[in-house]
Symmetry: C2
Subunit: 164 residues, 2 copies
């Protein structure tokens, strides 16, 4: 088992599409297999808020023999490479979304459940205020937003996401 926390892409330019994610996998020394391509395709097609079970179902459209275990193992690798990030919400913490930035946060559409990354969360002011208020020394943070995507409606939402 390999899986180290070596981010291959320090830049902000990381792939959102299956091909780019596959390239990153290969570059990190992993093999190009049908199962992995299927998981990548599933993650990009669902675009967020997909559980391992969901990813199995979608992934089997691409690779019918895909097993749940491989989904877990692939997610582990993708997380370690920073290509995928786990999302947390009150509904549960079993959703995975493509990650494109080293310090990215996600915004999740309450309408279509898709997640999109945003960049440059400038919460320096909040950090300062929290440090003053609590006496803590802040080291890192977790930020997620919830709202409605531009289309508001599901179809539009998907389109606007794909169009990016």
């Amino acid at each position: 088992m390999k899986i180290e926390n070596h981010f291959q892409f320090e830049s902000n330019q990381t792939p959102l599409d299956p091909a780019g994610m596959l390239a990153a996998l290969l570059e990190a020394g992993y093999s190009n297999t049908g199962a992995r391509r299927a998981v990548l395709a599933a993650i990009c097609q669902t675009g967020g808020q997909a559980s391992p079970a969901d990813l199995l179902a979608v992934g089997r459209q691409f690779h019918p023999r895909l097993g749940q275990v491989t989904v877990y193992r692939t997610l582990e690798i993708l997380q370690a490479l920073g290509l995928v990030r786990k999302l947390h919400s009150d509904a549960g913490c079993h959703a995975y979304a493509p990650a494109t930035h080293d310090h990215g946060h996600h915004i999740i559409c309450q309408g279509c459940q898709r997640a999109m990354e945003f960049e440059g969360c400038d919460i320096a002011a909040v950090v300062t205020s929290v440090e003053a208020q609590t006496g803590f020394q802040v080291q890192s943070h977790w930020l997620e937003m919830f709202g409605l995507c531009p289309g508001l409606r599901i179809a539009d939402c998907h389109l606007s996401f794909a169009r990016r």
Copy 2:
């Protein structure tokens, strides 16, 4: 099964101590039982980052016959009443911390694992920026911070927390 999302305390003045939380439970119409007092005591004593299993172990110090199921059911009630909040982190999403404010966020000490609430997260500027960047209409957010508590050392951290 009762459990509705009726926050009894709209004000920012909600209890951090077992007695106050118990009062809130009673006010909401729940019974005063040994098992619930034990769970409350356990949550306040651990102060955050305690899993249901941890809370069972600690709670049994107060009420030896306490069962895991009752811990889950009590947590469900406390969450619905806004007295307790689930914390999320890379390590997992099974930690519960006392909640004192309606719109509170938690900061978690990486040294002693305790969680403390802070108030007035002013991320309006971030919201505006994210809306401009993504086209989303932001409705809510989840923010958690990680850092070191004033004492830096475990003993001091516990003290400083208790002293509040």
